[in-house]
């Protein structure tokens, strides 16, 4: 295949994308050279193993992906509201809804939450870094390079166009020839390595590296949600890895796992995909529940109601999440009995979820609610999520699902739970922990504007879609060709642009606050209302997090510490701190594997083999690396702490 064959041509939007990608790729090295920042970028960021910096990189990448997925969404909405414009043709629309779904779930929601976990979980449990800092860096680069690989499909080779679910036989080599689906397979496979490694890494970190005295049932609720999520990741992601590998072997090497010919089993893909895919949606919702719990307790200035019930309901949700996958294809004809079983197991999830909703409401009872920006996002979550939740139960009723399935009713439902749940939580968590990350808060006034615009945009966009579904409009339809569907589609598009505007205000707020916000002087940024250990650190957080590790034997330890006028810092207890060294091997190894994946996408075997050998060589090199870190001296810790604490 020559270079002219692989470039996507013929569409003005794609030319515009090419130009902007080219401009950005020129601008970045030029700016870095001009400001002499290459060394800084390499030493401080690209080779870092510090969980806080890796977390920041995750969140920045996720915001970038949110922008990309959002642009996809707006293009779809324009097309559906103005079908006569001929803005997108069928093929193009199919590519866009496929990348929208994949980017939002795999490259936006998960990395955003993993970014927050990266930064906050070690701080909440009194740890100095992850259990495996090198692995953490490797995870990030596998996600980042996987995401970039997936995204270049827009201009090189053509994007996947079989939906984010990529059902066979449609996504097989016979019906979807060309590199598009390979981009999907390799992009997900590469970033999946990172997700699985993060799951193991955080699980070990939480189980082994908690502050002395901290039992599992003393952990902050966000850390609990992370632990439960990690278990889901570790059990669910291998299924995806295997499914992707089988389909890759089908497409590239001509096997017949999912093909229409030679006794293939195309429907097996749907089973494997959703055995991962349903737990996956809980991977992105449970941490959101954790974030809301932290924020609601903080700004209600009250202990979280029913802490144990909250934890157990998350564990039950996690278990049930593995027992409901068939509800994604009730219409496959498995029979009334199978559908009954999965219908009931699906509806049962509503019970622990309902418990959580009531616990949040009870946390607000006899509290002192302060309407900060993170609290607004968290409060808005409750009524909005309920609308998504009850329609989820309706979808779970299999007999009724025959009418809801594949319709806009379903589209409205999962956007209601994913946006009101996950996206609200990402914004809430980012604003909440922003001072911990960057040493200053985000502007409250702009933050409220962003919230209200996004909030109304969201409801205007998705509420009408329930009714479109009930009127028989199927999802993934590239054109609004039934006149009765047009008015609601126009309303929906208006809402989508509202959400876009809200996002712009949010991003502008990042810039505005960087320029104008007051710098933090204490670590307890929200008027001294912090309840958990992350607020006990100074701001900016020193690279070793805690000079002396506190003893913790209760929920919300920082509340008592403040009552007793204590801090975590005890100068008499200082000892040298062991920290990991920054390494270039994670990014180099993942760059090689990225190259191998790129080779496989176009079935250029020499490139793929070269990349694989390179990746394995770095792995071998790494296993002979005996550098196990360095010690920070007591004098240096003292100097840093005194400066930070103004002693």
């Amino acid at each position: 295949m020559g270079i002219t064959d692989i470039l996507v041509t013929g569409e003005p939007i794609i030319y515009a994308a090419m130009v902007s990608i080219a401009l950005v790729s020129i601008a970045i090295p030029v700016l870095l050279t001009y400001f002499k920042k290459w060394g800084w970028l390499w030493r401080e960021w690209l080779t870092t193993v510090d969980h806080k910096k890796i977390g920041v990189m995750y969140i920045l990448s996720a915001l970038l992906m949110l922008f990309r997925g959002g642009m996809d969404a707006l293009m779809m909405r324009v097309q559906l509201a103005f079908p006569d414009l001929g803005f997108l043709d069928s093929q193009h629309y199919n590519e866009i809804f496929t990348t929208h779904g994949t980017v939002m779930i795999i490259f936006m929601a998960m990395p955003f939450l993993i970014g927050l976990m990266n930064i906050i979980v070690p701080l909440q449990i009194g740890a100095r870094d992850f259990a495996f800092p090198w692995l953490n860096a490797m995870s990030f680069w596998s996600f980042f390079i996987g995401a970039m690989l997936f995204n270049i499909s827009f201009v090189i080779g053509g994007s996947p166009d079989a939906g984010w679910t990529s059902y066979t036989p449609l996504s097989g080599a016979a019906l979807s020839p060309g590199p598009g689906q390979n981009f999907y397979l390799m992009g997900l496979q590469l970033s999946g390595i990172g997700t699985l490694a993060t799951g193991i890494n955080l699980m070990v970190t939480i189980l082994k590296m908690r502050a002395p005295g901290m039992k599992l049932f003393h952990m902050p609720i966000f850390t609990w949600s992370t632990l439960v999520t990690c278990f889901i990741i570790v059990f669910a992601f291998p299924i995806l890895t295997v499914a992707l590998a089988l389909l890759t072997i089908d497409r590239i090497f001509g096997a017949h796992f999912f093909t229409l010919t030679a006794e293939g089993l195309p429907m097996m893909w749907a089973n494997l995909f959703w055995m991962w895919g349903h737990p996956e949606v809980y991977i992105v919702i449970l941490p959101a529940f954790g974030i809301f719990s932290e924020i609601i307790a903080t700004f209600a200035k009250k202990r979280l109601f029913g802490y144990h019930a909250m934890v157990w309901s998350m564990i039950i949700i996690a278990l049930l999440s593995f027992l409901v996958w068939v509800h994604h294809f009730f219409t496959m004809g498995a029979g009334a009995f199978v559908n009954s079983v999965f219908s009931i197991s699906t509806m049962l999830i509503a019970v622990p979820t309902g418990v959580k909703i009531f616990n949040w409401l009870a946390t607000l009872y006899k509290s002192k609610i302060e309407f900060t920006v993170p609290m607004l996002w968290s409060l808005a979550f409750i009524p909005s999520f309920i609308l998504g939740g009850v329609t989820g139960v309706m979808l779970g009723m299999a007999a009724a699902d025959y009418q809801f399935h594949n319709s806009y009713f379903l589209v409205a439902h999962f956007h209601y739970v994913l946006i009101a749940g996950t996206v609200f939580a990402c914004f809430a968590g980012l604003v909440f922990w922003y001072p911990k990350m960057f040493g200053h808060k985000m502007n409250e006034r702009l933050g409220k504007w962003a919230f209200w615009i996004f909030f109304f945009g969201f409801h205007v966009c998705f509420f009408p879609q329930y009714f479109l579904g009930l009127d028989g409009m199927p999802r993934r339809l590239f054109i609004t060709n039934v006149v009765e569907w047009l008015p609601l589609n126009v309303i929906s598009t208006v809402g989508a642009f509202g959400m876009g505007l809200g996002f712009i205000v949010f991003v502008y707020n990042v810039y505005y606050s960087f320029r104008h916000a007051e710098r933090e002087k204490t670590g307890d940024s929200w008027n001294g209302n912090g309840r958990t250990l992350e607020w006990a650190t100074t701001t900016p957080v020193p690279f070793y997090n805690f000079a002396t590790v506190p003893y913790v034997d209760e929920i919300d330890p920082y509340v008592r510490m403040k009552e007793e006028g204590k801090t975590t810092y005890d100068e008499s207890q200082l000892k040298p701190i062991h920290m990991p060294s920054y390494k270039a091997t994670p990014i180099i190894m993942m760059a090689f594997l990225g190259l191998a994946s790129f080779g496989l996408v176009f079935e250029w075997m020499p490139v793929a083999i070269f990349g694989l050998i390179g990746g394995v060589a770095v792995m071998i090199l790494r296993s002979f690396d005996y550098d196990d870190g360095y010690y920070v001296s007591v004098e240096e810790i003292k100097r840093i702490e005194r400066k930070a604490r103004g002693l």
């Binding site: 001929g86 019930a309 219409t331 009723m397 409801h459 006149v483």
Partner: protein, 315 residues
């Protein structure tokens, strides 16, 4: 300032959420909520039944939410000392209550769901005092991006449109020659998948004359939007005369013709006085691979489906 935000939130959600939801219960003309056959009717009844519970849940949660947010905001004038209990952290009785009530709701929703599921697997019961009619068998086969409806007993086949008699159950045999699709006629009832190498049975019935929209609802590539058909539900006599017209006037479907029709692309409505079932049964292992084996090259071409962008041209 903060109080204003509160009012805005409440006022914003109330009309948007509840009133639209209430009006959605049947007053608006929505296909799924305006059933024209027993299957759609039973699904509509189930949806209506569940909506009452959902509305109840929404009202309770929204009311509690509004109460908490309004009463316990920090700067409410007239807050009392007793309005703040920072260490309140649980109450076993109330926690048991709000676990058991959702559990009861789930049980109450499960019972009609399960019975409806089993009912949908067989032809609808005839109206009281009438005799059960033998279901009419129609094989509904998809190939990218068209529909073949074969009537084996009448020995006729239509492409991209469907005629059925009213008040007689239809037993659809669903299968596909290539990608997975789904037969959905929302006015008559819910969908089921058409899959190559497999055969699904779906019972639907129309109890009102009319022309209903049917489509493939499961995304299957470029021509997805155009894979629609009209369902003409008509009295038994009209249906029979339509059948005999086709038997007498339409040509037979040859093997070559059928293979030509299987090529990916769009095609006009058509009718034949024989069925493709004598050549291929895509619902079996032998018949599932024909398109993938012979026409894979054709999927490399992008179709230029400009003609489907206008509604009237393909319906």
């Amino acid at each position: 300032m903060k109080a204003k935000h509160l009012r805005k939130r409440w006022l914003g959600l109330l009309p948007l959420g509840l009133i639209l939801f209430l009006s959605g219960c049947g007053q608006l003309e929505m296909t799924v909520l305006d059933p024209k056959g027993p299957a759609a009717e039973s699904q509509y009844e189930l949806i209506k039944y569940s909506l009452w519970f959902m509305l109840g849940i929404i009202v309770v949660v929204f009311a509690l939410f509004a109460f908490m947010v309004i009463k316990y905001r920090e700067n409410r004038p007239g807050r009392k000392e007793s309005d703040y209990a920072p260490n309140l952290h649980g109450n076993t009785t109330i926690e048991i209550i709000w676990t058991v009530i959702p559990l009861i709701i789930v049980i109450l929703l499960s019972i009609p769901t399960v019975t409806t599921l089993f009912d949908l697997e067989k032809p609808a019961e005839p109206a009281e005092g009438e005799e059960a009619k033998e279901p009419l068998v129609i094989h509904a086969t998809t190939a990218d991006w068209k529909w073949f409806f074969s009537y084996p007993e009448e020995d006729i086949e239509t492409v991209n449109y469907l005629h059925i008699p009213v008040d007689r159950p239809i037993e659809f045999h669903l299968t596909s020659a290539d990608s997975m699709t789904a037969l959905w006629i929302p006015a008559l009832g819910g969908q089921k998948y058409n899959m190559a190498g497999m055969m699904n049975i779906l019972y639907l019935e129309a109890d009102e004359e009319g022309v209903y929209d049917g489509r493939n609802s499961n995304f299957n590539g470029e021509g997805f939007a155009a894979q629609t058909f009209k369902v003409h539900a008509e009295p038994e006599e009209d249906f029979n005369s339509w059948v005999s017209d086709i038997q007498n006037e339409a040509p037979e479907l040859s093997k070559e013709q059928y293979e030509e029709l299987l090529k990916p692309g769009l095609t006009e409505k058509d009718e034949y006085s024989s069925t493709h079932l004598e050549y291929y049964d895509h619902g079996t292992h032998e018949g599932m691979g024909f398109v993938a084996e012979n026409y894979a090259e054709l999927f490399k071409e992008k179709l230029h489906l400009d003609e489907i962008e206008k509604q009237e041209e393909f319906q």
